[in-house]
């Protein structure tokens, strides 16, 4: 088959303009496909990155309601819980009201035990734990605002007020972390510092995050935790981090379905376009195919040549498009990181993309292939 490659190649060069245009529309189709997959992963894929051994406990009625801080110690006593810590949403704003930041009050001593995917140089980590007024910030948010280690920043809260009469808290940046789960835009600071200085909500916590020894035991442990507080005035709801993140992503509505729908519309359109052009270029060469058959090329060979040509164009365009999408996914991630953590184009996009290349090329070649296969030499040669 490989010996026919030069023949296929020169066939593509016969009408340069047409090949270029077909190629271009296939590139666009796959570029869009790659970008849509990136977006879908960013909007809904957080769940795949969630730790399988982490559980979250929140107020049963809603995430916005707090739990008593005393719950934390009771959760720590549950069998199977390795480590448990708290998290409190701060409602962070930096400078302008519109620049909202994901800011959390946490326990620095336990933070990395619960979230091993966050990494920080050891001396920065030590400084953060030692300095109550310090904060660690994600890579990309540090870049966005030009923050440096050692800098002092003021974050405002759109929920809490400080005992000093303002809504602002001062923090020293102790470190800049990177996280393998794509969360490069959050900031974390000391719960104790925050708890002592806020005017209301003292000794309340937003949620409890725990790591468990055996992920298979997750449902049982979650049930045990919730049973601790059943029938109290503050009941809880414990779920795996994956379920929590998934549920949160679902709040966006059925985005996944919408994106799939758009992608299918794009593909249907592109399939028509390329099938038509490929069909056209075969029809114009029926004469030539007749000559090839006369020379002794079998129907099967001729058909596979037509198929090969279609696959070659689709594969060429498809892989260029996917490569472009990978490159552009970085730009998209930069733009979208204010809303969601992203990790670029998911690897599955390459696999699904490759499958689509075969399907698209095959479907486009279907009609011309049948024509080439059935073609009678006499008929072909009679046509001028």
């Amino acid at each position: 088959m490989l010996k026919y490659l030069p023949l296929l190649w020169s066939n593509l060069g016969r009408k340069r303009m047409r090949t270029t245009l077909t190629l271009a529309s296939i590139i666009i189709a796959f570029l869009l496909f790659g970008l849509l997959q990136t977006m879908k992963a960013a909007l809904t894929g957080g769940a795949d990155l969630a730790g399988i051994d982490r559980l979250m406990t929140i107020h049963k009625v809603s995430l916005i309601q707090s739990l008593p801080a005393s719950y934390l110690n009771r959760v720590r006593g549950v069998e199977g819980v390795k480590v448990a810590t708290l998290q409190n949403w701060f409602g962070g704003i930096y400078q302008d009201d519109r620049t909202q930041i994901a800011a959390f009050a946490v326990e620095p001593e336990l933070f990395f035990d619960v979230y091993p995917e966050y990494s920080l140089p050891p001396e920065q980590k030590a400084n953060w734990i030692a300095d109550r007024g310090s904060i660690i910030v994600g890579n990309s948010i540090a870049q966005r605002f030009g923050w440096k280690v050692g800098q002092k920043i003021a974050l405002r809260s759109n929920i809490f007020t400080n005992k000093n009469g303002t809504t602002a808290w001062d923090f020293n940046i102790a470190g800049i972390f990177s996280a393998t789960n794509g969360d490069q835009s959050s900031v974390y600071f000391h719960y104790n510092y925050f708890n002592e200085s806020r005017t209301f909500g003292t000794d309340e916590i937003g949620m409890i995050v725990m790591r468990i020894a055996d992920p298979d035991q997750a449902p049982q442990i979650a049930a045990k935790v919730d049973a601790l507080f059943a029938n109290s005035s503050t009941e809880t709801k414990t779920s795996t981090e994956k379920a929590f993140v998934q549920g949160f992503a679902n709040q966006l509505g059925n985005i996944g379905a919408l994106i799939t729908w758009v992608a299918s519309a794009v593909f249907f359109t592109m399939l028509l376009v390329s099938a038509n052009t490929m069909g056209q270029s075969i029809r114009e060469r029926l004469n030539e195919i007749g000559v090839m058959k006369t020379l002794g090329f079998s129907s099967a060979t001729v058909t596979s040549l037509v198929l090969g040509e279609a696959l070659l164009v689709t594969a060429l365009g498809g892989f260029i498009g996917l490569a472009l999408a990978t490159a552009m996914a970085g730009v998209v991630a930069q733009a979208a990181q204010q809303f969601f953590p992203t990790l670029g184009m998911p690897r599955e996009a390459w696999i699904v993309g490759s499958a689509l290349i075969v399907v698209l090329g095959g479907l486009a070649a279907l009609l011309p292939c049948m024509q080439a296969f059935r073609l009678k030499i006499v008929d072909a040669l009679r046509k001028t």
Binding site: M17, R18, L21, T22, A24, S25, I28, A29, L31, L32, L35, M39, K60, V61, S62, L63, I64, Q65, G91, I93, D97, R98, Q100, R156, S157, N158, I159, T161, T166, T167, F200, N231, S233, T234, E235, Q246, G247, N250, Q251, L252, G253, N254, V262, A265, V266, F268, T269, M270, L272, V273, N276, T277, G279, Q280, A335, Q338, F339, T384
Partner: protein, 397 residues
């Protein structure tokens, strides 16, 4: 001479259009390409229009919203009873027989499962005062009855009732340690309120251990012009530490990031898909021109000028664009217009329900875009047709 050119243009264009049927397959492909682009474009942008319609409907210029200073939304705000009373005393607030048209409100979110995914979503639960219905111009109960103050009864917005499970009249829901009964469904001409659940303020304060505190105060002012003096009076009052917005400003601010996101995604898809459609149109028009090489050359030999040839090819492109655009717009209109959905608005951390809205302006915009695609697709091939040396063209098979 001038009339001659127009005659020529007319003749060639008419001939061109008559024999478009000979190139049916490739014309249909270009048509479908453009129609596809327009459908997707209109579909995505109708989401943005849907948000906008909800927020426009919600934002009266003569209704003020007062929040605690520093708060950017009701969820993060807090006002004491004394503060709300002091604000409601303002002479700039309109009055009816029951007193000032002001409503101090609480705003919390409760988990209610979405019908589409079955997972919990943040649905706003609002505790309102007796004047609240008068602050929403088009408020009306469309099923059941109003809640009775002092009981665990709620009324549900029409949007919330269609998007979330169990929000039907007569149904009982359990949030925390309390059972709530739905007694009615209300409408407010599609405003944000329709995404909410309402109960009496005092009931919600008790259920949430809030004591006599509120989160926002809504007031109908005597006129839109009264807002500035009202705001100045509040911000200069030493007893208060609050900020005021008109309802319109407030909802514009709330929806900004969501509408920006949808517009950006819509624009990106439109541009990329548009490029794809241009390639399809170019392909079609190039093959149309190349199939008619001899015909065009013959025409030129007979004395037809280059301009009529260019115009005829361009017209074909524009017509393809127009037809594709019209088909796409129709599909989008019937497939999307009025479809209800809901999503989370990060600014208020709660669900907002909306309807995909295909506006006439959107349709016009899409048609113009489609015509532009057809025009660009026709331009290069038309130039090639015009530039071709006559002798070469005649010789071509």
């Amino acid at each position: 001479m001038a009339t001659n050119i127009f005659n020529q243009i007319g003749t060639i264009t008419a001939m061109n259009l008559r024999n478009m049927s000979a190139r049916l397959a490739s014309s249909i492909v270009a048509l479908v390409g453009i129609a596809g682009v327009v459908t997707v474009l209109v579909g995505v942008l109708s989401i943005r229009e849907g948000f906008r319609a909800v927020l426009d409907e919600s934002g009266a210029p003569d209704v003020a919203i007062v929040l605690r200073n520093g708060a950017t939304d009701e969820l993060g705000s807090g006002l004491s009873l004394e503060q709300t009373r002091a604000i409601a005393d303002s002479t700039l607030i309109a009055r009816n027989a029951d007193g000032a048209l002001a409503s101090a409100e609480l705003y919390v979110v409760v988990d209610v499962p979405m019908k589409s995914t079955g997972t919990a979503a943040n649905v706003p639960l609002r505790g309102v005062g007796p004047q609240a219905p008068h602050l929403r111009q088009n408020f009306k109960i469309v099923a059941g009855r109003m809640f009775r103050p002092g009981t665990f009864e709620v009324i549900v917005g029409r949007g919330a009732s269609t998007q979330f499970a169990g929000l039907t009249v007569g149904n009982t829901l359990r949030w925390g340690t309390t059972d709530w009964t739905v007694t009615g469904i209300f409408e407010d001409k599609g405003s944000v309120s329709e995404s909410e659940i309402w109960t009496a303020d005092s009931v919600l304060q008790n259920a949430y251990n809030r004591g006599p505190s509120y989160q926002s105060l809504r007031a109908k002012l005597t006129s839109a012009a009264a807002f500035q003096p009202f705001k100045d009076a509040l911000t200069s009052d030493p007893r208060l530490n609050v900020r005021a917005f008109t309802e319109r400003q407030y909802y514009q601010e709330q929806s900004r990031s969501l509408t920006t996101l949808v517009s950006t995604i819509g624009a990106a898809i439109a541009i990329l898909m548009g490029l794809g459609a241009i390639f399809a149109a170019l392909n079609t028009m190039y093959s149309a021109v190349s199939a008619r090489t001899r015909e065009i050359a013959t025409l030129r030999a007979m004395g037809f000028g280059a301009a009529p040839v260019v115009t005829s090819v361009l017209t074909e492109g524009v017509l393809l664009g127009l037809a594709g655009g019209a088909i796409g717009a129709l599909i989008a209109y019937f497939a999307f217009n009025g479809v209800r959905a809901s999503t989370i608005n990060f600014a208020s951390f709660s669900q907002i329900s909306f309807a995909f809205t295909v506006t006439p302006a959107l349709l016009v915009q899409a048609l113009i875009y489609a015509i532009a695609l057809g025009l660009i697709g026709g331009l290069l091939p038309s130039l090639r047709a015009a530039r071709m040396p006559i002798a070469t063209g005649l010789r071509e098979l």
